[in-house]
């Protein structure tokens, strides 16, 4: 079975977010980039399923410029077999989805996995766009994925519960916990990752459909009003009379 796992390159989760002086771009200076945490679920689950089946391949795909390669190598170190980098700045979800759909159409993948969303753009869009472009089902967000031949059984989160869904390959799923315990690379993985193939291809398709005009930070909080623990009940009065939220 051939798995395609899409990973995005995002600022480390502890990053304090700042922007360039014109507020048009994220300020990358001094920021460490990591594999999007949601994508780690997709990657690890694909590797686990490949191991269970005793064969197949896991290809990772990233739409990004050359500076994303350390994280692509990290995905290879975790256990992916090969990688594709579409050499372009990921302009918007539609643009990224087109690159993924294009790579997938030529690659004959059975299962396309990705994270629920990226922790920077927070779009929760790419999976559905890819599914629609390829004319195959999308299951999003998936908390569980098991394969039996060409049949996949997934648990899809819905508000207040879950749906158990069965789909046939090929399909797209976006992953979230508790799908698996994300793996970290070991020494052997890091050594072998250096020699695994990483293909760089150029972008295709239409221009982006959305454009960020400006970024802004949320307004600063006024500061905390402390209530002594002995008078804890006073807080409830403030929430009713001052904050008017209860």
């Amino acid at each position: 079975m051939k798995f395609l796992v899409c990973i995005s390159n995002v600022p480390d989760t502890t990053t304090k977010i700042t922007f360039t002086p014109d507020n048009k771009e994220f300020n990358k200076a001094g920021v460490q980039f990591v594999i999007n945490p949601w994508d780690e679920y997709a990657l690890t689950r694909a590797i686990e399923l490949k191991e269970q089946q005793g064969g197949g391949t896991v290809t990772v795909l990233n739409v990004g410029e050359a500076d994303t390669e350390p994280n692509i190598r990290k995905a290879l170190a975790i256990g992916a077999d090969d990688a594709i980098r579409v050499n372009a700045f990921p302009k918007d979800a539609f643009f990224v989805a087109e690159q993924i759909a294009n790579a997938a159409k030529d690659g004959g993948y059975d299962v396309i996995l990705m994270g629920k969303e990226s922790i920077d753009y927070n779009g929760f869009q790419v999976h559905g766009m890819v599914g629609e472009m390829l004319g195959i089902p999308t299951v999003a967000p998936a908390m569980k994925l098991d394969m039996n031949g060409t049949t996949a059984t997934l648990e899809r989160e819905i508000e207040g519960g879950k749906e158990i869904v069965e789909v046939q390959t090929p399909f797209v799923a976006s992953c979230q916990q508790p799908m698996c315990e994300p793996r970290i690379p070991n020494m052997r993985g890091i050594m072998t990752a250096r020699t695994k193939p990483l293909k760089v291809v150029e972008a295709v398709g239409e221009p982006a459909r959305t454009e960020v005009a400006e970024y802004a930070l949320p307004p600063k909080k006024q500061g905390v009003k402390l209530i002594p623990a002995e008078n804890a009940g006073e807080l409830i009065k403030l929430l009713r009379n001052e904050a008017k939220v209860i």
Binding site: N122, F124, E132, M133, I164, V212, P218
Partner: protein, 325 residues
């Protein structure tokens, strides 16, 4: 030209987030000098759908096909696309829910539309540009996004728009069929399992949330969180390590890698306020923090705080809520 609003229904009722979406859509329609039609998905009653008139909706389309009761991405996408074509919709508005965002992304390809999810404000339409504000960087920032296509799809974040209530207004409900085939149900659920919600309030829809962290020491103490939540009519939530060790179910975990919530009131009990936790809750209107460590980072993001032991403070708060009557 019109605005199409997608409303999600459950057990016959329109979800609260969909009342917000309907209100958003009717206000966009007003800005564009047109009307807003709703298309309903899920299990709805005609009487409840007619009430969408209160949110400014002028007509509701409803396909009563029983297989559409539960979410099916393929079929929902086809149904909504058909409604959009019928109404010549220029703008489609849906909830930024698991259903809304899943369908919205497929629709954007099918209808060649620009899509913005996680939208927190009404659009700006000056200078011929259509701009929406959306949350980015896990709630640590906002982005003004220009939607360039002729058609736009907007997924509205919960609790970011006030629902309108023009009492007494009703909307006619029309039956509508998208002529779905079996293939459209390829991803139909085999089974739907609903989780027990403390006090019956869904966390993603909740207006008030009481949340516990590792400072609660163990699952046996969660009655303190639940008692306060029950008294307030709030949903319960937790930090990631709490769900990682199974003190609480995963669907209660809020934060950067959990659910993002933006209630009017978020009460954090025994939670340190790590940046990844804050990312999922810091757009809450009022944040209350109870922590015995005065240096806990959460106090920096809080509106109200109590430096104290949760085991001592929580029963007092519950008591005080009960006394309010």
């Amino acid at each position: 030209m019109s605005v199409l609003v997608v409303v999600e229904c459950d057990n016959g009722e329109v979800k609260k987030s969909s009342l917000e979406v309907a209100s958003y859509g009717s206000q966009v329609a007003q800005m564009l000098g047109t009307t807003a039609t709703a298309v309903a998905v899920g299990e709805a009653t005609e009487a409840n759908l007619a009430h969408l008139g209160e949110q400014g909706i002028s007509k509701v389309l409803y396909d009563a096909e029983p297989r559409l009761k539960d979410f099916v991405n393929g079929a929902y996408t086809k149904l909504i696309a058909a409604a959009a074509e019928k109404e010549q919709a220029q703008v489609i508005v849906l909830a930024n829910s698991n259903i809304g965002a899943s369908v919205g992304s497929r629709l954007s390809v099918r209808l060649k539309a620009s899509l913005a999810t996680n939208v927190v404000e009404l659009p700006k339409t000056d200078g011929g540009k259509f701009t929406v504000k959306r949350g980015a960087y896990s709630g640590k920032a906002f982005a003004d996004v220009v939607l360039s296509g002729d058609r736009k799809i907007i997924a509205v974040k919960k609790n970011s728009i006030e629902a309108l209530h023009n009492a007494g207004q009703t909307a006619p409900v029309e039956s509508f069929s998208a002529q779905l085939s079996d293939a459209d149900f390829a991803d139909a659920p085999k089974q739907v399992v609903m989780q027990d919600q403390a006090g019956g309030i869904l966390l993603p829809e909740a207006d008030k949330v009481v949340s516990g962290g590792r400072g609660m020491k163990g699952p046996e103490n969660w009655n303190l969180i639940e008692d306060l939540a029950k008294a307030l009519g709030a949903a319960t939530a937790c930090s990631k390590p709490v769900s990682d060790v199974d003190w609480r179910p995963h669907h209660e975990h809020v934060g950067q890698t959990g659910i993002t919530v933006s209630p009017n009131l978020y009460i954090a009990c025994g939670i340190s306020g790590a940046i990844q936790h804050l990312a999922g809750v810091n757009s809450s209107k009022v944040i209350v923090v109870i922590n015995k460590d005065p240096e806990a980072p959460f106090f920096k993001a809080a509106d109200y705080g109590i430096v104290g032991d949760v085991f001592d403070v929580l029963p007092k708060l519950t008591q005080a809520v009960k006394e309010l009557g």
